[in-house]
C-alpha cells in the first residue's frame, strides 16, 4: 500500500498520511485536487466503492473537513480522503457523476452542514428535515437544546440522571446516594 501512496504522491499533493489500520489509510488532499484524485482512484486503482461521504465541522479552524471513504474490493483496502474546505463559503465539486449514490450523501451534507455541491441532482430538495429554516443543525454553532426549548414545548419537571448512579441508588440504597 505504500506503493500506492507513493504513486499518488507523484501526481498529487498528499499530506498527513495516517495509517489507521493495516487496511485503512487516511490522507489529506487540497480541495482543488480532490475530485481528480478520487476519479483517479476509481478508474485506475480500482477503488470502485464509495463507502460514505461525511463532514466534520472544525469551527475553530473555520474549516469543514469532508471525508470520502473509498474501498478497493480487490485488496479489501479502504482509503479515507480528507478535504478541508472553507467554512464561510462551503462549496465543493460534486462527484455524483462517479457514483450516483453520492448525490444522496451530498443532499444530506447540504441539509445538515450547508455544504453546497452545485450540479448534484435534487441538491436543493428536502432530505430529512422538511422545511428547515434555521442554520443547518449539525453545525457546531447550532444549539440544539436552545432550539428544542424554543420550539417543542418542553414539559417542566423533567429530571436527568446518570443511569449508572441512579440504578445503583435504586438497587443498593444502603450504599448512599452520592459518593
Amino acid at each position: 500500500m505504500t506503493k500506492l501512496i507513493d504513486r499518488l504522491k507523484a501526481n498529487f499533493r498528499i499530506k498527513n498520511v495516517t495509517m489507521q489500520r493495516a487496511d485503512l489509510i487516511f490522507l489529506t488532499v487540497p480541495e482543488k485536487q480532490a475530485v481528480s484524485l478520487i476519479t483517479y482512484l476509481r478508474n485506475q486503482e480500482n477503488f470502485s466503492h464509495l463507502v460514505f461521504l461525511t463532514a466534520v465541522d472544525w469551527i475553530e479552524e473555520n474549516k469543514f473537513q469532508l471525508n470520502y471513504m473509498l474501498h478497493n474490493h480487490g485488496f479489501n483496502f479502504s482509503l479515507g480522503i480528507r478535504v478541508m474546505i472553507n467554512r464561510q463559503k462551503p462549496v465543493m465539486t460534486s462527484i455524483h457523476h462517479l457514483w450516483e449514490h453520492a448525490s444522496t450523501y451530498q443532499r444530506e451534507l447540504k441539509e445538515m452542514f450547508g455544504i453546497d455541491f452545485p450540479g448534484s441532482p435534487e441538491i436543493d430538495q428536502n432530505f430529512i428535515l422538511e422545511g428547515w429554516e434555521d442554520i443547518p443543525p449539525l453545525r457546531r454553532d447550532f444549539d440544539t437544546l436552545k432550539y428544542s426549548e424554543r420550539t417543542y414545548f418542553p414539559r417542566t419537571g423533567r429530571k436527568s440522571h446518570d443511569p449508572r448512579k441512579f440504578m445503583k441508588s435504586k438497587i443498593y440504597p444502603e450504599q448512599g446516594e452520592e459518593r
Binding site: L129, E130, G131, T144, S148, Y152, F153, P154, R155, R158
Partner: protein
C-alpha cells in the same frame, strides 16, 4: 363542557396549498359532534370500548412492542382490540415512541382522517417529554401539544403488559364518556393548528385532512 363553535368561520383558509391545488382538498372545518345523553350513549360507549380498532401505523420504535400484543402471547383480540390498516376505519391511533417533525405530519394526517370518536394512545417517555431525545433539534417533546392524547403509557419502551393496562384504562375512559379527544380537537382546533404549524414549516396540505 364543550364550547359551541358558531362564532368561528366555517371555511378553512388552506393557506399552505398553492392556489391550483386548493380545489383538490376539502376546506370544511371540523365540528364538535355532541354525544347522545343517558343510556343510549352509555350503550354506544360500551360498544366503542369493546371494539377498539387500532391503526396499524408504527410511528416510532415502540411499534415493535405492538407485535407481541397481537400474537399468541398477549392476544389483545380477547379485549376486542384489532389492528386496522386504514385510519378511516380505526378508532385509536398509537403513537409508538419518539416522534420527529416529519412523522408528526403523518400522524396529524392520519389522526384527522379518523372518524369521531377517536382516541390516542401515546407510548413511551419520548411522547411525554421527549425522553432521551429531549434536546434534539428534530424530536418533539410532548405530543399533547399537537393532538389530544387520552392515555400516556410511560416507559422506554413500555412492555406489552403496560400497553394492555393502558388499553384497559382507555376502555374505562371511553365507558365513562371522558374520551372526547375528537371534540376537544375540534374545539381547540386553532390552538392545535398553530402549534402544529409552528414546527411543520412546509405545510403542503390542507388545514384539516378530511
Amino acid at each position: 363542557m364543550l364550547k359551541n363553535q358558531e362564532n368561528q368561520p366555517q371555511k378553512l383558509a388552506n393557506a399552505g396549498l398553492p392556489e391550483h391545488e386548493k380545489y383538490l382538498f376539502c376546506d370544511a372545518r371540523p365540528r364538535i359532534r355532541h354525544p347522545f345523553k343517558g343510556f343510549w350513549e352509555k350503550f354506544l360507549n360500551w360498544a366503542r370500548a369493546n371494539s377498539i380498532w387500532m391503526l396499524a401505523y408504527g410511528t416510532g420504535c415502540g411499534a415493535i412492542e405492538l407485535r407481541p400484543l397481537m400474537t399468541a402471547r398477549y392476544d389483545v383480540f380477547r379485549y376486542g382490540i384489532a389492528p386496522r390498516p386504514t385510519p378511516r376505519q380505526s378508532s385509536v391511533i398509537i403513537i409508538g415512541g419518539y416522534c420527529s417533525v416529519k412523522t408528526l405530519k403523518r400522524i396529524i394526517r392520519s389522526y384527522e382522517q379518523m372518524q369521531n370518536p377517536k382516541f390516542v394512545l401515546a407510548l413511551g417517555s419520548c411522547t411525554i417529554n421527549g425522553g432521551m431525545y429531549w434536546d434534539s433539534y428534530n424530536t418533539i417533546n410532548r405530543i399533547d401539544a399537537y393532538i389530544p392524547v387520552d392515555i400516556y403509557i410511560a416507559g422506554c419502551m413500555p412492555r406489552p403488559e403496560a400497553i394492555i393496562a393502558g388499553f384497559k384504562k382507555l376502555k374505562q375512559l371511553i365507558k365513562s364518556g371522558k374520551a372526547e379527544g375528537a371534540n376537544l380537537y375540534a374545539e381547540n382546533f386553532d390552538w392545535y393548528k398553530a402549534n402544529q404549524k409552528k414546527i411543520i414549516k412546509d405545510w403542503n396540505m390542507p388545514d384539516y385532512n378530511w
